[in-house]
C-alpha cells in the first residue's frame, strides 16, 4: 500500500481549472519531485493535499485512509509535515520555541501544568527540549537555540522551518522550494541536510523545486506539471530528455 495516494484530483478557483486529474503515489521512504513553470499549480497541489484548500474532485489517501477536505491540523497530526515557499516563521519567537511548538500535540501536562510548573510539566518540557535540540543538531543549528529567528541569516531560517516541520514527526514531508533564494553555499548545505534527514528519519519526501540540479540529484521520480496537468513523469534521466518538458520550460522550437 502506498503511503500517500492521490487519485484524479481536480480543483477549480472559480472558473479557472488550476489542477486537472492529478494522480500521485508515494511509497514509504521515497523522495519525489514536482517541477514545472511558474503558475503551473505546484503549490496549489501542496495546499490541496495539506488541507489548506479542499479539492473540487478526487480522493487523497494517507496510509489508506482519506484525508480529503480534512482540517489542516488533523492532516498534520496524521503525519504530513510541510514547509513553505516563502519563510513563514514566527518572527519574534526563539528558534527552540519553534521546534517545541512542532511537538504541541505530543506535549501533555494536564490542567495544573497550565498555570504551575508541576513536576509533570517540567519532565515533559525537559523531554521536548532534548528532542528539539536533537533536531537542531540534525539541521546544523544547535548553537542558535535561544536566538530569535528574525536574527538568523536566511539559510539558517529555512533550516529552522525544516526542523519545525520534522518536530511534528511526519511520515511524509512536503518541501516547497527548500532552496529558493539561497546562495550556492547554502544550497549545498540544504541538499546535504535533506539527504541526512531522509536517511536518519526514514521518511518520504515530496518536493517542489525550480533548480534542476537539486531535483535531479535528490529525487528518484519526478513529475512535470504544466497548466495544472502532469505532462511527464519518470526518473531524472527520462525527464531531462523528454521533449514535452523541454517545450514547457523553453518554449517550442519553431522552424522558420
Amino acid at each position: 500500500m502506498p503511503l500517500l495516494e492521490v487519485s484524479n484530483m481536480t480543483h477549480f478557483f472559480g472558473g479557472l481549472r488550476a489542477v486537472h486529474a492529478y494522480n500521485l503515489e508515494i511509497e514509504p521512504g521515497q523522495i519525489r519531485g514536482l517541477i514545472g513553470p511558474n503558475g503551473a499549480g505546484k503549490t496549489t497541489i501542496f495546499n490541496l493535499i495539506t488541507g489548506i484548500y479542499d479539492p473540487t474532485e478526487g480522493e487523497i489517501l494517507l496510509e489508506g485512509k482519506t484525508i480529503k477536505g480534512r482540517e489542516p491540523n488533523k492532516i498534520a497530526s496524521r503525519g504530513l509535515g510541510r514547509t513553505f515557499q516563502t519563510l513563514r516563521l514566527w518572527r519574534h519567537m526563539s528558534v527552540i520555541d519553534h521546534i517545541k511548538l512542532g511537538r504541541y500535540s505530543k506535549l501533555d501536562y494536564g490542567l495544573p501544568g497550565a498555570f504551575f510548573s508541576t513536576p509533570r510539566r517540567l519532565r515533559e518540557e525537559e523531554k521536548t527540549t532534548k528532542i528539539a535540540m536533537d533536531l537542531l543538531e540534525l539541521v546544523g543549528l544547535p548553537e542558535t537555540a535561544d536566538q530569535l529567528v528574525t536574527n538568523l541569516p536566511y539559510g539558517a531560517q529555512r533550516r529552522v522551518e525544516l526542523a519545525r516541520a520534522l518536530a511534528t514527526e511526519p511520515k511524509i514531508l512536503f518541501l516547497d522550494e527548500p532552496t529558493a533564494g539561497m546562495n550556492p553555499e547554502e544550497l549545498i548545505d540544504m541538499m546535504k541536510i535533506i539527504r541526512e534527514v531522509h536517511q536518519e528519519l526514514d521518511l518520504a519526501i515530496f518536493l517542489i523545486e525550480h533548480r534542476m540540479k537539486v531535483v535531479m540529484d535528490l529525487c528518484e521520480l519526478i513529475q512535470t506539471l504544466d497548466f495544472g496537468e502532469v505532462i511527464a513523469e519518470g526518473t531524472p534521466d527520462d525527464i531531462r530528455n523528454d521533449p514535452k518538458v523541454i517545450d514547457a520550460y523553453l518554449g517550442k522550437e519553431v522552424s522558420v
Partner: protein, 311 residues
C-alpha cells in the same frame, strides 16, 4: 503625603479594572488580529453573573448549614463566586467567538469590528429586556475594615482588589509565556497559517483566547461590584473603551503591557482629579495617551507589524 498614598491606592484599584479588561482586549487583538468591541459588555455580563452567583450562594446560607462563622462563609462565597463566574463568563466569551467571529475569520477586519459592536449592543439590550432597567446592588461580600498604613487609611477591599488583579494578570502572563497553549497563541499572532500544520487546532486556540479574556473580565466585574456595588446594563461601555485604549497603549498582544497601561490610565484619571475639576478627567487622560501614542504608535511593548504576512 498620606493624601498621596491614599490616592495611590485609589489609582491602583481603579487601574485594576482597566488592567484586567485590557488584557482580554489585547490577547484577542494579538492572537486573532481583531478588536473584540463586545469586550466591555462581556465585562458587564461577568459582573451580572457574579451578582447572581453570589446572591445565590448567599441564599444557600452555607454558614448555618455547614456551621461556618460569618467571616469564613463570606470568604468562601467570594472565592466560589470568582471561580464559578469566571467559568460561566468564559463560556459566554467562547459563544461570542463561535457565533459572532468564527464565521468572519476570512472576512475583512472591518466586518468583525462591526460584529463586535453589534454583539455589544445585543448584550446590553438583552440585559435590559430580561432584567429590566433598574440597577442591581452587588451583595456585600467583604465587610469593610480600614487599615492605616503610613498615615494613609486604606480599606481591606482595595488591597484585596489590587492583589487579586495582580495575581490573575501574572497567572495569565505565565500561561502565555510558558505553556504550549500560550506558545501557540503567540505563534498565531505572527503567522496563523502555519499553526495548524503543527497539528494545532487554531479554532481551539481562538476559543481559549476568548475564554481567558472573558474570565478576566468576569473577575474585573466582581471586583468592581465589591468596590462600587451598583450594576447597570451600560456599565461596560465606557470601561470597554478605556480598556481598549489601554490595550493599544500596552502594545498588541502584550499581557504585561496591557496591565501596565491599565494601571497607568487609572493613575492619570485619579491624579488628574486631584488637580483639575473631575469633568476634565477623560479629556486630560485621553490627551496624555494621544501624546504617548504619537511617539510610540505601537504602544509600550508592541512591535511594528506592517510587514506582517497574511494569507
Amino acid at each position: 503625603m498620606d493624601v498621596f498614598l491614599q490616592q495611590l491606592m485609589n489609582a491602583l484599584q481603579w487601574g485594576s479594572f482597566y488592567a484586567l479588561i485590557a488584557i482580554g482586549y489585547s490577547m484577542v487583538y494579538g492572537v486573532l488580529m481583531l478588536f473584540n468591541f463586545a469586550h466591555g459588555d462581556i465585562f458587564m455580563v461577568g459582573a451580572y453573573i457574579g451578582f447572581f452567583v453570589s446572591s445565590g450562594l448567599l441564599a444557600l446560607n452555607l454558614g448555618s448549614v455547614i456551621g461556618l462563622s460569618t467571616g469564613v462563609e463570606l470568604g468562601l462565597v467570594l472565592v466560589l463566586t470568582l471561580i464559578i463566574s469566571m467559568l460561566l463568563n468564559s463560556i459566554v466569551g467562547m459563544g461570542v467567538e463561535r457565533i459572532g467571529y468564527r464565521p468572519l475569520r476570512e472576512a475583512p477586519r472591518a466586518s468583525a469590528a462591526i460584529t463586535g459592536l453589534m454583539i455589544g449592543i445585543i448584550l446590553e439590550t438583552a440585559n435590559l429586556a430580561l432584567l429590566g432597567p433598574q440597577r442591581r446592588s452587588f451583595p456585600e461580600l467583604i465587610p469593610t475594615t480600614t487599615i492605616t498604613i503610613a498615615g494613609a487609611s486604606v480599606t481591606n477591599k482595595k488591597i484585596l482588589i489590587v492583589i487579586v488583579s495582580l495575581v490573575l494578570a501574572l497567572l495569565v502572563h505565565q500561561f502565555v509565556q510558558r505553556t504550549k497553549w500560550g506558545m501557540a497563541m503567540r505563534a498565531m499572532a505572527y503567522d496563523y497559517v502555519v499553526v495548524p500544520l503543527m497539528g494545532i487546532s487554531s479554532d481551539r486556540i481562538a476559543l481559549m483566547t476568548f475564554a481567558i479574556g472573558s474570565a478576566l473580565a468576569a473577575a474585573a466585574g466582581i471586583l468592581f461590584g465589591i468596590a462600587y456595588p451598583v450594576l447597570d446594563p451600560n456599565m461596560g461601555i465606557l470601561f470597554g473603551w478605556k480598556a481598549f485604549v489601554a490595550a493599544i497603549l500596552g502594545g498588541r498582544g502584550s499581557i504585561l503591557g496591557a496591565a501596565l497601561a491599565g494601571f497607568l490610565l487609572g493613575f492619570i484619571e485619579i491624579f488628574v482629579t486631584m488637580i483639575f475639576p473631575s469633568t476634565m478627567r477623560n479629556l486630560i487622560a485621553f490627551g496624555i495617551i494621544l501624546i504617548i501614542l504619537t511617539f510610540r504608535p505601537h504602544g509600550f511593548f508592541g512591535e511594528p507589524f506592517s510587514a506582517q504576512l497574511r494569507l
